[in-house]
């Protein structure tokens, strides 16, 4: 690591290619500059490297460092020119789109889904023997979809063979074609019962490009997702990236291949969780999709809600959440038709921005619902393995909990990181904090943070070769801490005592139904005692005082005593009044008409 002094990393997004330059300054690595340019995978350029070069040119102009020579990136450094290492990620061209199949929906199919999501894919469909559809419906569905690849799973090693053969026959029947590369065979990864590998290969070999890897669910008690994820990543490079214009050339420029953007973001989140020893929830809410990442007790889960976003998919949020759920977050009375038309027009003109404060709050209300729905989806997948017997003792047998419990435990969550335009670029950081509070309803003590300029993908791929450097830049230049939030769990009547915060010898009483923001600057830490009101849990159990260290941030220390779960008044007038109170607590009520 001591030999690497300059690092260039790019992320080729669907719309924009972003380049960052990192340099070693003294003993640590720091972000120097960031440049961007439109992504050029489509006509008339049809070559992603054009956009990369344009973004790097901006980096050159801003940093004063020459990096390009003859239209290519100079690697390694030559004197004062070039960089020591160049890395890139990509989500251009729609990313990696996969279909997964399994035998049992809640077991092998779900494990396959986790494998594919963890590798950065968008899941188009999950097909299982027991998914309730008739065979011809599944065949029709597979035909209609044009995935980049299919992941097949099912059967523990030594288990069912017949079901796997039936799934193979179904795939053969559908004769699926890849999304990219007319005339090419669809890549299929087989990661099921090893005893069924040979008959499955016999059936499919002539029609698809089949690759056999270790079973991703070799026993009911164990998942082995690594080999499948690696195979997905390899095939992503070979098949998907090679088809995308200019990527073959780009891969010869980079020092470590190209990683899909969500895969890379997952890597940096895992790195940080591991290095800091914390439980983290991270979200990237984009125009079309919302990616959610979590690490709880070392278990990493990623989900992508490919149907929830703030521009292209904004009407999906409307359809899934319903207008009522969106309007409940808006701090003024709204006309139903007006809100619907705003969202429809945003869908067809996605690059527009809210000009009025009212339109901003409508969009931020939609964001809350997109975040909430994506999080619900995430919680349903981030769970313990189903099909596993938990009986160990008679006591446990008598009180056997449901298998498939969610891994996401809000009381244990240490940090939430928000990313994506609506969170990272909200006009006021307080708005980002309030959106995350409303959508996620963190419990106990949690740090809220946002990604300053969305460089998590670049830091993610960097973390695979230089984890320390990636971590340093993440903490010092990427992450903007908004502040710790204290949220006691429980509900009560308005005005009743929710908790008392004891800090610096001072006692601060917090009534139920309120939010309080206490100034505490970034980097400042305090030991606090939280004395919950009767029936409330601050982190150590009901009615028990909880001691914690809180940290300040751009917003400050936040105490959210509105209740967990959060219940909004059903009466519109009262709800609007409550929303305005929350805004006032953060100093956000200017500009709204009375």
């Amino acid at each position: 690591m001591s030999e690497i002094r300059t690092i260039l990393a790019t992320d080729c997004g669907s719309t924009t290619t972003k380049a960052i330059l990192i340099e070693k300054q003294g003993d640590e690595y720091r972000l120097v500059v960031r440049g961007e340019a439109p992504t050029t995978v489509e006509a008339p350029f049809d070559d992603v490297t054009v956009g990369v070069v344009n973004a790097v040119r901006e980096v050159e102009e801003l940093s004063g460092r020459r990096i390009l020579c003859g239209g290519k990136i100079v690697v390694p450094t030559q004197g004062d020119e070039g960089v020591d290492i160049y890395l890139s990620t990509s989500s251009a061209g729609g990313g990696l789109q996969m279909t997964v199949t399994g035998v049992v929906k809640s077991m092998s199919a779900e494990s396959a889904e986790r494998a594919a999501l963890g590798a950065g894919a968008i899941i188009m469909d999950v097909i299982a023997v027991d998914d309730g559809r008739k065979e011809y419906e599944k065949v029709k569905r597979i035909r209609e979809l044009r995935p980049d690849m299919i992941l097949m799973s099912g059967g523990t090693d030594g288990g069912t063979v017949t079901h796997l053969v039936e799934i193979a026959e179904m795939l053969l029947s559908a004769d699926p074609k890849p999304r990219l590369g007319i005339g090419l065979k669809l890549p299929v990864i087989y990661a099921g019962n090893r005893e069924a590998a040979a008959p499955v290969k016999d059936i499919l070999d002539a029609k698809v490009d089949i690759k056999v890897v270790d079973n991703l669910r070799p026993t009911l008690e164990r998942e082995n997702l690594g080999p499948a994820r690696e195979a997905i990543h390899e095939l992503f490079l070979q098949h998907v990236m090679q088809q995308a214009p200019g990527y073959g050339k780009l891969m010869t420029w980079t020092s470590a291949g190209i990683m899909s953007t969500p895969n890379a973001v997952g890597k940096i989140i895992q790195t940080i969780a591991e290095q800091e020893g914390i439980n983290v929830l991270a979200v990237d809410i984009g125009g079309a999709t919302t990616d959610v990442f979590s690490v709880f007790a070392g278990d990493f889960t990623r989900t992508v809600s490919a149907n929830l976003g703030m521009s292209y998919s904004i009407c999906n949020v409307l359809a899934e959440a319903g207008l009522g759920n969106i309007r409940r977050w808006v701090p003024f009375e709204t006309d139903e038709e007006y809100v619907r038309e705003q969202l429809r027009n945003k869908m067809i003109r996605p690059t527009t921005i809210p000009q009025t404060i009212e339109d901003l709050y409508i969009e931020q209300a939609v964001a809350r619902e997109a975040l909430r729905l994506a999080f619900d989806h995430h919680k349903s997948l981030a769970r313990e393995l189903t099909g596993v017997q938990q009986t160990r003792t008679i006591g446990e047998a008598l009180s056997q909990g449901a298998t498939g419990k969610s891994l996401v435990r809000m009381m244990d969550l240490d940090m939430i990181v928000g990313s994506g335009g609506v969170l990272s670029h909200a006009p006021r950081r307080e708005q980002s904090a309030l959106m995350m509070l409303d959508a996620y309803q963190p419990e106990g003590v949690t740090m809220l943070a946002v990604d300053s300029i969305f460089m998590m993908p670049q830091l993610g791929i960097l973390s695979t070769v230089m984890p320390e450097a990636a971590s340093q830049v993440f903490k010092r230049d990427c992450l903007i801490k908004l502040g710790s939030v204290i949220a006691p769990v429980g509900n009560g009547s308005e005005g009743r005592h929710a908790c008392t915060i004891v800090m610096n010898g001072e006692r601060i009483e917090i009534p139920f139904g309120t939010i309080k923001v206490i100034p505490l600057a970034e980097g400042e830490k305090r030991q606090v005692e939280i004395e919950p009101g009767r029936g409330f849990d601050a982190g150590s159990g009901k009615n028990k005082t909880h001691t914690a260290e809180v940290e300040g941030g751009i917003v400050g220390m936040i105490i959210d005593a509105r209740g967990r779960p959060l219940n909004l008044p059903s009466d519109t007038g009262k709800r609007v009044a409550k929303a305005r109170e929350s805004l006032k607590a953060f100093g956000l009520n200017e500009g709204l008409k009375e």
Partner: protein, 373 residues
């Protein structure tokens, strides 16, 4: 020199138009280089392989999969007809026969040694790609299709539903502000491309579909009326495959929005001519906008280039594409270089523009589109 963030839609009476006509699978190109084609000329064709139907022979005959070979009457590659016996077993000293018949006509593709299932591939379905416009073949994509070139009028909409249609243009309103009501949708409009003004009502749209109108072009559509017409909500703007009788092209947006004067006048000028329309829309990953194409005779004058690079300058004509002032036309009067804080609190680059009524407004540059032509 500043550039608009949102590329404008094309509304031009005379331009070069190129269309790629491509098969979904490899097949055969049916026309040659330089060939003149009509909208219904088949330019390429292929066969979509049929679905493979699985016949569970062991379950039907009550035998073990491993015994299939003794009873099967067909082999891989054999053609079978619907109702033809493909396997037979006998029991009770040959007195009882169990037959398994093919449920479809096709070719035996799979005999599984593990499950004993027999897969029969249905007959393929022919797939044709037509030209859709009058034009000339300027490039052959081997085994896949062609690129056509034509000269004529091109009008792009902002959003549409329904796929490719043909029809004669018929303007049925008096001004671009008029709402097309049900009583003006008459039987003689069947097969035509009907031009509305600021809106078409839900009832009028349903009537148009019932009498067989090819397509409707309107300035705006009320969101609820569109959902009722489709029968479901639209989640993302990827359209073109809807099972609707009448394609719809919206030129301005959702709501009651006056059709742009330029667009309306051009459509009036083209009235009576045959148009090739397509409601297909895709907002991301390869933007596709709905369009109306009316080819014309090649004239001695050269056409306007299809892609004209335009940028924001003082005097540029723009349309405001976000509230407030949604849909209004304006002319740029100032382009301050430094970002300013707008009402929402965001700090962005803005421009100043004079509305048609004379008022000068300040608008984020992301919220305008240049009127292209």
């Amino acid at each position: 020199m500043a550039t608009a963030y949102t590329p404008g839609l094309k509304v031009t009476p005379d331009t070069n138009i190129r269309k790629t006509r491509r098969l979904p699978l490899k097949g055969q190109v049916m026309v040659g280089m330089g060939a003149q084609v009509e909208p219904d000329t088949v330019v390429a064709m292929t066969e979509l392989p049929g679905i493979m139907q699985t016949v569970r022979v062991p379950e039907v005959l009550g035998i073990e999969p491993s015994d299939l070979g003794r009873y099967l009457k067909v082999a891989v590659g054999d053609r079978v007809e619907r109702g033809m016996m493909i396997a037979e077993s006998k029991s009770m000293f040959g007195l009882i026969k169990n037959e398994c018949k093919s449920p479809v006509g096709g070719v035996v593709e799979l005999i599984s040694p593990v499950s004993g299932h027999v897969g029969i591939r249905h007959k393929p379905t022919p797939v044709e790609v037509r030209a859709h416009i009058c034009g000339r073949v300027i490039e052959i994509i081997p085994d896949e299709g062609v690129i056509l070139e034509a000269r004529g009028a091109l009008i792009q909409g902002i959003f549409g539903i329904g796929g490719e249609r043909l029809g004669q243009i018929k303007v049925v309103v008096d001004s671009p502000a008029d709402i097309l009501e049900e009583d003006r949708v008459t039987e003689d409009l069947a097969g035509k491309v009907v031009i509305a003004g600021s809106n078409i009502t839900g009832a009028a749209l349903r009537k148009a579909a019932s009498i067989g109108v090819s397509g409707v072009v309107t300035g705006g559509i009320i969101d609820k009326d569109l959902v009722a017409y489709l029968g479901y909500d639209i989640g993302v703007a990827i359209t073109g495959q809807e099972a609707v009788a009448t394609s719809l092209i919206v030129t301005e947006g959702f709501g009651v929005i006056r059709m742009a004067e330029r667009t309306f006048q051009l459509l009036k000028h083209l009235e009576g001519q045959q148009a090739s329309i397509d409601g297909s829309t895709q907002i991301r990953a390869g933007v596709i906008r709905p369009e109306i194409i009316v080819p014309c005779e090649m004239s001695a004058e050269s056409a306007q280039p299809a892609e004209s690079e335009q940028s924001l300058d003082i005097g540029t004509k723009i349309r405001l594409i976000r509230s407030p002032h949604f849909g209004q036309l304006a002319e740029v009067t100032a382009l301050p270089a430094e970002p300013v804080v707008i009402e929402s609190g965001a700090k962005v680059r803005i421009l100043e523009a004079r509305l048609s009524g004379g008022e000068v407004v300040s608008v984020p540059r992301a919220n305008v589109e240049i009127i292209q032509g």
